[in-house]
Amino acid sequence: MSLLEITNVSKSFGPVHVLDGVSMSVDRGEVVGLVGDNGAGKSTLMKIVTGMYTADQGRLTLDGDDILTHSPGERRRMGIEMIYQDLALAKQQDVAANIFLGREPQKKVLGINFVDRATMRAEAKAMIDRLGARLPAINRPVGSFSGGQQQSVAIARALTFDPKLVIMDEPTAALAVREVQGVLDLIRQLKASGIGVILISHRLNDVLSVTDRIVVLNHGRAAANLTTAQTDMAEVVSAIVGGADMADAAAHESRG
């Protein structure tokens, strides 16, 4: 039984068929790359997994449990985390508030639930330290941080609650070269600790270096399901562009 099983999922926005019977799976400790051209349906598929969108039809299971009717909050509690390309941070709130947003630790005083700010701050700091991220201050609004620092907060938020599956949407697109290596190392660490990872990226070099399998979406269909060790840039690019202009596009990507 796979960790995440997507079976025959379809989704339309009005007359536009964005996803047309897509199936894919992720195992524990497996890193799956999800690639495809703009508009191929990658983000829509992942938003169906996190519960932000509802699928028109299909099946979705986590650890064998059907989760298609669960709310985004419930799916998060079950262990599905996503790091969004735009990071989805509340920029006027501080680091701890962002990491614990929606699941703040509470303590009862006189029968009333109060947010346990001391615990939040301590655990947020511990998580940031564990990631080795350097932040100017933990009690500052995250909007005052640099892009890389903000991403550290988004990553810390995804990892604080022992996730089973982490979805990363273009995590390296806005990063400096040195920071990219940090993210790739982090993905390898997650894999080693048994977490399933879905990596959405246009940077095929990153995808080829860190994934176990690569699923290619093309016009809302799963066009290919490749084992990374047995494929190469040319085959991936060919699946993305659908056969045409393969040689030129692959040569271009190989040059990096």
């Binding site: 996190t50 932000m52 709310s71 985004p72 909050g73 419930e74 799916r75 998060r76 509690r77 996503m82 969004y84 735009d86 989805a88 941070l89 509340a90 920029k91 006027q92 709130q93 508030a97 962002n98 947003l101 929606g102 699941r103 703040e104 509470q106 009333i112 639930n113 109060f114 947010v115 700010r117 009690n139 609004p141 909007g143 005052s144």
Partner: protein
């Protein structure tokens, strides 16, 4: 290193900016608003010999109570990135409903009190329902409710006020346990409860997170629409409470009560440091903002300035407060 300029050259935040950020982080207030309040009070004390007295102090709080409760409502809604323009009208409607239930229907005071706050909550609930389910912008929905609630308040008793509330009800507006007016006690108690709710509970934190980034709140699993609905209901209930304070103080359900009060309430919230676009708000700050408005009105009254000019002053203060806030935000170059 030994040059006399060494101290000044040292990089890092200045003392003033450290006080500013300390005030925001510890007490959730803009330090400037506190200074404005103190300067304003000092100016009034110099200008009028009556200003600095215990009775005038209580007068200011008494005059601020209604606006203060409305400003607390405005703080929550603005903090969540919303807007409630119907505050003053809903307050007027609630007062008339309460007076009608107590006087015309002759029901006991607890029922009338519940009806007053309940009428406000219902109006707010309708606002929230249309905003979250029909996706009509809050600006339009609450502007519409501003007209509907005011009209309804006038329809109930054909435009006339309803006089002669029962004594128990009037006590809520005119009673003075330990020499402190009841409206002041209700105002302070409401402020304390709402401050704790905003600053120390999930409800308050989620309110500000939604105002900060709806997307962040939604991806965090917060049910944004349900939270919004509860916020507008809360706002209406607080407007109802303001209506109760006002009606019991003047011993009448007046359909014109609360006219343009939303202007003053929103101004008080913004002076107190609430971000007009959501994400930052504090009840402590709003209390200061409401007191600034109260001192301003009280002082202008003591100086015998016509109320028309007071209206102009409030409008000018609103624009000035938002200007200063935006100027600060640009200076700090935060989102």
């Amino acid at each position: 290193m030994t040059s006399p300029d060494a101290g000044r050259m040292r990089p890092g935040p200045s003392l003033w900016s450290r006080i500013q950020s300390g005030a925001i982080e510890r007490f959730h207030i803009r330090i400037e608003s506190l200074i404005v309040l103190l300067v304003l009070a000092a100016a009034m004390a110099v200008l009028s010999p009556y200003f600095l007295s215990w009775s005038n102090f209580l007068n200011i709080f008494l005059a601020t109570a209604t606006i203060g409760v409305l400003a607390i409502a405005a703080t929550y809604v603005l903090g969540s990135g919303g807007l409630d323009l119907s505050l003053g009208s809903v307050m007027g409607l609630a007062g008339v409903v309460g007076a009608w239930v107590a006087v015309k229907a002759g029901l006991p005071t607890p029922v009338a009190v519940a009806a007053t706050v309940g009428a406000g909550a219902l109006a707010g609930f309708v606002n929230g329902l249309i905003i979250t389910r029909a996706f009509v912008p809050a600006f339009i929905v609450t502007l519409g409710m501003l007209g509907i609630a005011r009209g309804l308040a006038l329809v109930i008793n054909h435009g006339a006020a309803i006089y002669g509330l029962p004594a128990a009800m009037v006590y809520l507006g005119q009673g003075r346990p330990l020499g402190i007016p009841m409206p002041v006690i209700i105002f302070i108690a409401t402020a304390i409860v709402m401050h704790i709710l905003l600053a120390y509970t999930r409800y308050g934190r989620h309110t500000l997170a939604i105002g900060d980034s709806e997307n962040a709140a939604r991806t965090a699993g917060i049910n944004v629409q349900r939270h919004r609905l509860s916020l507008y209901t809360l706002s209406g209930a607080l407007a109802g409470l303001a209506g109760l304070i006002f009606a019991t103080r003047v011993n009448a359900g007046d359909p014109t009560a609360g006219l343009t009060y939303e202007l003053t309430a929103i101004t008080a919230a913004i002076i107190g440091g609430t971000n007009l676009f959501g994400g930052r708000a504090s009840i402590l700050g709003t209390m200061i903002g409401a007191l600034i408005m109260g001192v301003l009105q009280n002082g202008l009254n003591l100086l015998a300035v016509q109320s028309y000019y007071q209206q102009m002053a409030i409008g000018a203060v609103l624009i000035l407060a938002v200007f200063i806030d935006q100027w600060q935000v640009r200076k700090e170059s935060r989102v």
